[in-house]
Symmetry: C2
Subunit: 204 residues, 2 copies
């Protein structure tokens, strides 16, 4: 049976191994790489190579960085007494976009997934506890995701810090803006009640 040529099939196979790329998308991508102008292809490969060469981890908070420290860790204007713990750099970027926080971060680079064998030594938890001992934080804000693994990881940190004098907080769980109470799931609605705040003008 006739098939695509070997180099084409090899490229499709490599593309198919990327996350979220199915066999049909891989073929579409291979076809687009074939049709690309030579300079565009060079630009693409160069950008990937630069990504690999330049983007490292911040040696303090494990955020993405292009020098020893990331831009947040090297900014003396940031509040050095607050530490926000997130799973990934993309969570940090999402929080930064809100402008609601001016402290430091710690990027765990993952989350506890006992079923998949991701234990506390596979993510940056040891490094977190080391920072909590050696830097002068007053508050730690747990901003892991609100799903099973994120909650588990937050719980784990709380338990490890039970004898510490740090203020430990967790982002509020409640109804998202624009949502209807009628359609909220029970757990979210329960959390929204438990975490209800006294009304203030700031809210509107």
């Amino acid at each position: 049976m006739y098939e695509f040529t070997p180099s084409y099939l090899k490229a499709v196979e490599e593309l198919h191994q990327l996350p979220g790329i199915g066999p049909k998308s891989a073929e579409k991508l291979a076809a687009s790489f074939l049709k690309m102008k030579q300079e565009d292809f060079h630009g693409f490969v160069e950008a990937l190579q630069e990504l690999r060469e330049k983007v490292k981890q911040c040696s303090r908070c494990y955020n993405l960085a292009e020098s020893e420290l990331c831009l947040i860790c090297s900014d003396p204007e940031r509040d050095q007494t607050k530490l926000c713990v997130v799973e990934e750099s993309k969570d940090l970027v999402a929080i930064e976009k809100t402008g609601a926080y001016n402290g430091l971060y710690h990027v765990l680079q993952g989350v506890l997934k006992p079923i998949e064998g991701i234990q506390s030594n596979k993510i940056r938890l040891k490094e977190l506890f080391h920072r909590l001992q050696h830097e002068s934080f007053q508050e730690i804000i747990l901003a892991t995701n609100f799903n099973y693994e994120g909650e588990l990881t937050a719980m784990y940190i709380v338990k490890e810090l039970k004898n510490s004098s740090l203020t430990i907080s967790r982002l509020a769980s409640g109804l998202p803006m624009g949502s209807d109470i009628e359609f909220a799931d029970q757990l979210t609605l329960k959390n929204a009640f438990r975490g209800r705040e006294k009304f203030s003008e700031e809210m509107i």
Copy 2:
């Protein structure tokens, strides 16, 4: 506002320009390139470079080829009197998988799209008519897609060949196997009636 690092953003932008890759997929892909082992990354880039260097067009039928002629054109066992016209190499591969056809192909590398300015000179139509004059085909089978552009292109070819002695055929349009008549669209059902075949044992 803090953002991802420049090299990271550049890679995301390049990835986002690929077909079917949205901004979130681009971030996911960039993160996966960062986490990839060095040897896997090399393998990936090498496969893309090999794709660009080795995969050319067959000089006769414009199918993908890694030498002057593609494997089908260089196979003397193929029926040299039949020519099947397809839009893209992937259509050719789909037809080859059925084993229903043993003739030659012509890959148009596109389809007429008057609205987007894709006229007859942008696809391999001139080359098709040249082949029909200089090779000894008896039948030409139009296997462009069954949508507006594919039908238009088939029509265009039929019109250009109106004084030729070639047998011109089009793949049958009808109900796909496993489908319900109840849910068929009107045009398909109409085509299925018009193209009805006398029952034979081969069909089952």
